[in-house]
């Protein structure tokens, strides 16, 4: 990931062939959301709204810019967030991936050749919605529950779906969820996280037995305060312990 200065000031030339699209998932304990950008096009003469739809947060990359850095920059431009890990999950390059009328009109209106192919590298990230300030440079960006997204511009619906598959696969293998929780969290919060992202219900007792085997989930002598029910014990994720005890997953399905 590039430094903040590189992210903010970029001297290169935007490259017409490459873009990155970032699928920014936002977790909020009740559902999984995705960051979408309003795309409104109005007729220049009449002022009439031609269409108003949604896209993922993507953009072209600079000619001398690393792919990962470009993804970070785009995320920064849209949200002001920095030092967020973005995972590259797939590259989309069908020659006809931009073929709908709205998309072609949009590109033309923005000074791009709608017939020029664009290969886009997909990244995803997973954030806690409440850590993101969406009042940023007046961009028209907002969280939408993933379950409610039915259509997006370009091939972004397909990109979103692939990102969700990649996110879930990754969550099943790596403890990527702790970034989303407060430093001290309860087991119910952790369980909720898995349920929301994986879209399943988990048994509380079995979940806790599993947690008990993970030595890097350290119980504290500290409880929630100010909740209107029995306060839960707080836990922390010990990254060092995790790294040391991480064993190769060699459990294979033939």
């Amino acid at each position: 990931m590039s430094s903040s200065i590189e992210q903010k000031v970029h001297a290169g030339v935007l490259n017409d062939y490459f873009s990155v699209d970032c699928v920014i998932f936002g977790f909020d304990f009740s559902q999984l959301n995705v960051l979408l950008v309003d795309r409104v096009m109005t007729d220049e003469l009449t002022g009439k709204e031609l269409f108003n739809d949604l896209t993922l947060t993507g953009n072209h990359i600079y000619d001398d810019e690393d792919l990962d850095a470009a993804a970070s920059r785009v995320l920064f431009d849209l949200t002001g967030l920095q030092n967020i890990y973005l995972e590259q999950f797939k590259t989309f390059g069908a020659p006809d991936r931009i073929n709908r009328e709205n998309d072609r009109a949009w590109l033309a209106a923005n000074g791009r050749d709608p017939d020029k192919r664009i290969v886009t590298v997909g990244y995803y990230s997973l954030l806690a919605t409440d850590k993101v300030t969406l009042e940023w440079k007046g961009r028209n960006v907002r969280w939408t529950p993933v379950a409610e997204v039915t259509d997006l511009a370009f091939d972004h619906m397909a990109i979103l779906q692939e990102a969700l598959v990649a996110l879930r696969k990754n969550l099943l293998r790596e403890p990527i969820g702790f970034e989303l929780l407060p430093e001290k969290f309860t087991l119910s919060q952790l369980q909720r996280l898995y349920e929301v992202i994986l879209g399943v219900a988990l048994d509380k007792r079995n979940f806790r037995k599993k947690v008990a085997r993970m030595k890097y989930l350290v119980p504290l002598e500290e409880k929630q305060m100010g909740v209107a029910h029995k306060p839960a014990r707080l836990y922390v994720f010990d990254r060092d312990l995790y790294e040391k005890n991480r064993k190769e997953l060699l459990d294979f399905a033939i």
Copy 2:
């Protein structure tokens, strides 16, 4: 994957910005190999050999060509193979990924601008070495044991390593190995496959117990013939049974 005609005849223009690199793994029951191309450069005047190294099988893609189709075409051009499944695993786009002297000289000698960045989409495939004929259009392509590859042109060493990680991850989740075996195979062959690709030793009895649980591995009333030891029972992989009984992997590591 495109049809064979599309693979052979392509009318478009090669795009200078994009390439695909195919990491073709070859399994031969004794080791895991990778298909590499000799890259020899000689001084035009003196005829002296300037360098002689190895690259992955990659090439630029056509402007109107799908990424997956481009990977298939490159594989076809180099090996004559068709209808081989190629899995996209990662895209490499560091602006300085081509910076070594040999690589720059090579590009210049081949009429390309060494300062122009090239983003390459990585694909891998897994074949049985004995199914591949390397006498194809006189290309200088050959199998090299993965364990013996120490250096490659461009950033191909890094691409190879990432491909191997992706291959192993995939083999642990999906039964991708059966393409490499004869239609009827023995359990020892299957075990050997896993050992060679994953680079581990597996216990014979435990392996067989695991196989016994996989209902889509169907034992036949048929044995090996002509071997100088106790003949092994033959098995087939029943893809239909696999597809029907495939269950969601929801076994997560918190």
